[in-house]
Symmetry: C2
Subunit: 313 residues, 2 copies
């Protein structure tokens, strides 16, 4: 199955306890499509400025990412500057320069208007809706969002969510969106807004995947994150998670309960790899057998023996 | 196998978003031994005052908890008053009255001095050490501790830890004890202090179990907590976890890598039950088949299909 992704392509300046990078390749569409490219065919729709280095275009091309929807416009590329301190779960934004992203109006090229899976990266909900209007109804519409839109563009976000099948959302943002402190109740409220599948990202604690209880007993799957000695740069972990998740779904071709669980594992696999180095650097050398080895580590991380149970009575 | 536990027996006054209780049964030894009693034989060593209600003694007795080490002394029972707000992971202590606990010097009755598993609940590290001196070397020595002892009694704690096989510790306390922000590096540092097995409790995110890599590939097991619609009272969750954990080990009789993973699951099972009601109330009606049903929910929560993996590359 094919994936179409819309989001940001950016130049990120990031400092973490492990080091720093100036104007490195970043952006939600970039991390998403590169992660997904290891598992499936993906096209992106995004905008960059005249100053966007040609080497980054070549890198995305080398990953097989379809670039016919990558618009180059007069002006400077979107830039983000951020810092992570010891709590790597939380980015401090130091500066955001929207530049050409400010007037971004995504245009889906005609040949890409029948995607089987659509990923609406974390951009204005109005732009997410504009993309939805340009495509034939995909088999699966997935979206990401953030606190900025939840508080500042709530009505537009709710209109978009009504058309979304699968929402990726942080745990604090899920609580904020639903106005519920219990994550279970928050997800139930979000499911009433539209998305029947909700994937709650919890940073170093992993992710929860909620499916409709009618389709799966209990309806919830928990996948822990891999405990790591060093996270060099958490930037892009969430988008790499979504890329691995939807890449696995596209590769498998089915979206049943077991396939969605497998997708959450593959999202965790790609996210755990992404944070091992700055920017997209880990993906530059990543080999398929390393992905499979990492997936097996998640099997070992979570395995336990059901038959050991015994009660004293 | 038999378990001996030393810790506090208390009267807790607790307020949570779900309600409140005045002077209800609480304490680390109480939660631990009651949770463990569903899986194995357990004796406790603790102290109460003259005012300790006889009904609580009868309840512990009805669970089969051995009470020959429960000392009754002149004065009032240890009391704790606390509050949980929306973030149920964090208790705010409003008042602590040590009372008879202030001069507690644990005395292990002669017939209990050869326990196979010893649990040193969260009390002064000097008292934990005093218990260790009274018993023949058990097959497994497990201990809990807290930030108060990590900062205030560090040297004594390190002396006790050198004799401990298995440490239960919160994630923030593990970081504090080791002076390391990476939980993996923190656990490695703690393992160098003595405990070869470290179980890191992460509240609503579950637990991590670290075993020596020599004994188990990777050496880490992650068990998520069960996402719950309502946590009525988180008090005692950690001690119930330890009780379920060591109860399962005692019931199985072996302490290999698979048994330790199973123990962490049973700890999660008992903790998830404990928080469904105030004080120990959930344990008053708990049936063995409910424990097994809850364990199967943890299987469904974490299950994924290994054979779905497929790579495009």
């Amino acid at each position: 199955m094919s994936i179409l992704c819309v989001g940001s392509v950016a130049l990120d300046s990031v400092r973490t306890p492990s080091g720093e990078r100036e104007e490195a390749l970043g952006g939600s569409a970039t991390f998403f499509s590169t992660a997904a490219s290891f598992l499936a065919k993906v096209d992106l729709v995004a905008v960059v400025g005249e100053d966007f280095p040609e080497e980054h275009v070549r890198f995305l091309g080398s990953r097989g990412v379809g670039l016919s929807g990558l618009e180059r416009r007069p002006g400077r590329t979107f830039r983000w500057r951020g810092r992570y301190d010891w709590d790597l779960n939380e980015a401090k934004t130091l500066a955001t320069e929207l530049n050409v992203f400010e007037s971004f109006h995504p245009k889906v090229p005609e040949p890409l208007r029948r995607p089987e899976i659509l990923f609406l990266g974390n951009i204005e909900p109005e732009l997410q809706a504009a993309v939805l209007e340009q495509v034939d109804r995909p088999k699966l519409v997935a979206a990401d969002t953030m606190n900025f839109w939840i508080t500042g563009r709530r009505e537009a976000l709710l209109r978009t969510l009504a058309k979304v099948d699968l929402l990726f959302v942080n745990d604090s943002e899920a609580r904020q969106l639903a106005g519920e402190s219990s994550i279970v109740k928050a997800v139930q409220a979000i499911q009433r807004m539209g998305p029947r599948i909700v994937c709650v990202k919890r940073g170093e604690y992993g992710a929860l995947l909620f499916q409709p209880p009618a389709e799966e007993e209990d309806g919830v799957f928990a996948i822990p994150a891999l405990p790591m000695e060093e996270v060099r740069d958490p930037t892009g972990a969430g988008d790499s998670f979504a890329g691995g998740f939807l890449g696995a779904l596209a590769a498998g071709g089915r979206q049943g309960p077991a396939e969605l669980r497998h997708a959450a594992v593959m999202g965790s696999v790609l996210a755990s790899l992404a944070v091992e180095d700055f920017s997209l650097d880990r993906f530059r050398t990543l080999q398929p057998q390393e992905i499979e080895a990492r997936r097996r580590r998640f099997e070992r991380l979570t395995w336990f023996e059901p038959k050991l149970s015994r009660l004293a009575g």
